[in-house]
């Protein structure tokens, strides 16, 4: 049993956990921004008529979705130096998370845009709106509402996925737990503590997702 569970050691290592938590938060945030950019570009390519842009976007999305993030991470980690890019582990990690989540976000945005009824687009065409006006005033505001909750869901997945970066020795939250586990042979203290921190992030983001869908829901009802 855990009769030797040492809260004192946890407190002693608290600065390390704090640093890990902060690193996990900002590297996830940065990766999420990167993933949004990747996702928007992929989605724009995917919505084109010709196959020239569509085919590569589709192939990329399928390839990312059908392979594990860990293999993608190792692909970049062991592969980039081969191409002459020797980057710090942290940068490789952020790159991998952005490229991975971007494929999922592309599908989320696409579903949002396709959820707009055709009639809306036809009505704006009939009103003589240009393509940009149509997108800016009719399609995107409505699509935005549909995409926010699943985007926050993807953010939760991204934060959890960032734990894998500990395997290429990025010093984030999970790495902090591993250090405590190996330095002091206290896996219970290390891993239970980081699990608690991840739960904190999870409930925070989940609360935000709930709030946003309620807020967007009422906002939709008012118009």
């Amino acid at each position: 049993m855990l009769e030797n569970f040492s809260f004192r050691t946890i407190v002693e290592y608290l600065p390390l956990f704090g640093q890990g938590l902060v690193t996990t938060v900002w590297l996830s945030a940065l990766s999420f921004v990167g993933a949004l950019i990747v996702g928007i570009v992929l989605c724009a390519m995917n919505l084109q008529r010709g196959w020239l842009f569509r085919a590569p976007a589709k192939a990329y999305i399928d390839a990312v979705r059908a392979t594990p993030l860990l293999a993608q991470l190792y692909f970049l980690y062991f592969g980039l130096p081969r191409l002459g890019f020797v980057l710090p582990e942290l940068v490789v990690g952020i790159l991998a998370l952005s490229l991975n989540s971007g494929a999922y976000i592309a599908e989320i945005i696409r579903a949002g845009i396709l959820s707009i009824p055709r009639g809306q687009v036809e009505a704006s065409v009939a009103s003589g709106m240009t393509y940009v006006q149509r997108m800016r005033l009719v399609v995107l505001p409505q699509a935005f509402k549909v995409t926010i909750p699943p985007l926050l869901g993807q953010a939760i997945v991204l934060v959890k996925d960032s734990a894998l970066l500990s395997l290429i020795s990025v010093s984030e939250l999970t790495r902090a737990g591993q250090l405590l586990a190996s330095d002091r042979f206290m896996p219970a203290e290390g891993f239970l503590t980081i699990a608690a921190f991840y739960l904190l992030l999870y409930y925070g983001l989940k609360g935000l997702a709930g709030l946003s869908s309620r807020w967007l829901g009422t906002a939709g009802a008012r118009t």
Binding site: M1, L2, D62, A63, R65, A66, T67, P68, L69, L70, A71, Q72, Y74, F75, Y77, F78, G79, L80, P81, R82, L83, L114, S115, K160, D161, S162, A163, L164, S166, L167, T174, G177, Q178, A181, P187, A188, F191, L192, I194, A195, Y198, L199, Y202, Y203, K206
Partner: protein, 224 residues
Amino acid sequence: MIWQQLQSLAGSYPLALRGLGMTVVLSLISLVLGTLLGFGLGILRTGGNRLIDSLIGAWVDLIRGTPFLVQIFLIFFILPEFGIELDAFTAGIIALTNLAACFICEIVVAGIRSVPTGQVEAALASGLSRWQRMRQVVLPQAMRIVLPPLVGQYVLLIKDSSVVSAIGLTDLTRVGWLVVQRVPNGLLVFFLVGVGYFIVCYPLIMLARRLERRMGAAHGEVQL
């Protein structure tokens, strides 16, 4: 240079096959166990007992809220402190089964709740027992909602099985990691690892998409 590497890679062929085998076996066992457990938990959750519902809900939230890597470490390093000795394979199976069961439970709950109450009332009025009601009326209709995300969940499970390489199981990802120490061409090695996963996962992704379209059409929804 590249020729030597290819020769060396060809030498790793049996290892790669073993890794692929490990990935398939791990995924298959936990897929079957996780599905059974997930359906059980889902049916229990919709049974009407508040306490059971919130207990399962809390557990599902704990599992959904923590990274799978952390769950594996917890199971592998902490269960022995409770006197349960585990090898890496058993720990991997437990972790994957638990993960799958939690996600499948949510899918099943959503499916069961989608069945109109009139159906349940009609089954009650026909004098069907609780078990008959579930098996003959509710579940067959719920499956339409359950099936597409269930297949999607299997894809996630196969991909998540790569994380067990962290506790030293020689699955496909671990094989890539081992080979890349000898053949210093990460691009090629992990491209091949990716191909291995793709061959297993992609047909399932296609199946999930097809089911989604079919089930949606059966529902009379407008296809975009």
